[in-house]
Symmetry: C2
Subunit: 103 residues, 2 copies
Amino acid sequence: LDIPYYAVIFSAHRTPGDNGYNAMAVRMEAIAATMPGYLGLESARNEDGFGITVSYWKTEDDIANWKQQVDHLEAQRQGHINWYKDFDVRVAKVERAYNMKKN
Amino acid sequence: LDIPYYAVIFSAHRTPGDNGYNAMAVRMEAIAATMPGYLGLESARNEDGFGITVSYWKTEDDIANWKQQVDHLEAQRQGHINWYKDFDVRVAKVERAYNMKKN
């Protein structure tokens, strides 16, 4: 990935139960992957319901565009009402990156 | 937190077994919390061993300083050898943030 790019860090505590969350999450990831500027997504969740999802985008405009996508707007609405006790969203410019991978 | 601040996004696949990892992780979080510019840390891990840890810092210098802390250097060395199959590290400038919290 060419530096700089952008990360949306979404960290949240889930409410108990699924309530349609997992189906939505799979669907949102599939739709996000079709959006302009999408570079990838990583997600991890603890058994206690705390999770972090980071999505990566070429530009801030790509993030704004995804935030307004119609299915995503509905997911955000449901998230607010049903799925999350709390969440933090941070938009950040990735300025440096390195990695390690064992063969 | 005052915008802008910095995030270190560490995403990694663990090797099987603990091998001293959990004790180190607790210790590193305790030491990080004493470092200049430390603003907080969030961590989540899937059952399959994929995890994301995001630490937050006031400045890039604070991140460089933490990266060179002596116990952290040893943890990085062990991580490379023993704990991780792969990892990505991204240093990002947090430019916007918002949150939701239910009462």
